[in-house]
């Protein structure tokens, strides 16, 4: 059952990722991107990373997609007119991506523990008394082991906000 769901959501994610690249209309690309990321969030949930699944939907389907759609509509971008593709660029791009996939498929069986099935987690209170849920675990580790990086990321977000305001001013003085 898990395997079937895995392949369904993977196919959804990869198919809509292809749609992002292949669509000529930027609005359709942005909406395909959201569906692709919702599929990815389902894979996160399948991997018992519930908090990250929720964050993925909130940040990407909520914030990033709205930002992309807002910019596309602000700039009033129409579907791209067909230009003469540079054939060298086209062939080069496809060849590099295909070489990457080829390398991936040859290397994928070599990982020593790669063919191991899901190792069991002990998530219920009978087997593992005093266990916290996923969000509590993430919060505990975030505020103990990763406290300094967390605060640095806060500063980064502040800098990004100030930078965006400065960049969006009508003229730079």
């Amino acid at each position: 059952m898990t395997a079937i769901l895995f392949w369904i959501f993977s196919a959804l994610m990869l198919g809509f990722a292809c749609a992002v690249v292949l669509n000529r209309n930027p609005v359709a690309s942005a909406l395909s991107l959201v569906i692709s990321f919702v599929g990815l969030a389902a894979l996160f949930v399948m991997l018992n990373a519930y908090f990250l699944g929720v964050i993925q939907v909130l940040v990407y389907a909520g914030a990033v997609m709205v930002l992309f759609l807002f910019i596309i509509m602000l700039l009033d971008l129409k579907a791209e007119e067909r230009r003469k593709m540079n054939i060298g660029v086209l062939a080069g791009g496809v060849a590099v991506a295909a070489a990457f996939v080829l390398q991936l498929t040859t290397i994928i069986g070599d990982l020593p523990y790669g063919s191991r099935a899901f190792p069991p987690l002990r998530l219920d209170t009978v087997q593992n008394p005093g266990i916290l849920n996923d969000v509590q675990n993430v919060g505990r580790i975030l505020f103990s082991g990763y406290n300094l990086p967390f605060q640095v990321v806060g500063v980064l977000l502040l800098v990004a906000t100030v930078g965006v305001v400065v960049l969006s001013k009508r003229e730079l003085k």
Binding site: A3, S10, L14, A17, V20, V21, P26, A30, L33, F37, L40, L43, F44, L47, A49, F51, L52, Y60, A63, V64, L67, F68, I71, L74, L75, L77, E80, L90, G92, G93, V94, V96, A97, F100, V101, L104, I108, L111, Y113, G114, S115, A117, F118, P119, L121, R122, Q127, N128, N137, V138, L142, Y146, V153, L156, L157, A160, G163, V164, L167, S168
Partner: protein, 107 residues
């Protein structure tokens, strides 16, 4: 059929390849930006898979990988905001989002 770590890594690699091809093939700067997001999320998927497949002694997944994903998502959100502001400023100056029309830094 049992799911293995290899399946997750294969899907993650394919997603990365799609984003990579998008960056190389598309000429619209906004689509290139979306493909960059796809590549970041492919890395996130493999990190979460490694975290789940390395169960610790207390029976929980290895949360260090999930922490890295958390920081990647935060940085990606900041990056999207700044990048789109740059694109808007560029559009104001040049009235185009086509990368071949923006070539004043080209040697």
């Amino acid at each position: 059929m049992e799911l293995t770590l290899d399946d997750f890594l294969l899907v993650s690699g394919l997603l990365f390849a799609i984003g990579f091809a998008g960056v190389l093939l598309r000429r619209n700067i906004i689509i290139i930006f979306m493909s960059l997001e796809i590549m970041l999320n492919a890395a996130n998927l493999s990190l979460v898979a490694f975290s789940r497949f390395q169960v610790q002694a207390n029976g929980l997944p290895n949360y260090n990988g999930q922490m890295l994903v958390f920081f990647i998502i935060t940085v990606a959100a900041a990056e999207v905001a700044v990048g789109l502001a740059v694109i808007v400023a560029l559009y104001r100056a040049r009235q185009t989002t086509h990368v071949e029309d923006i070539s004043s830094l080209k040697f």
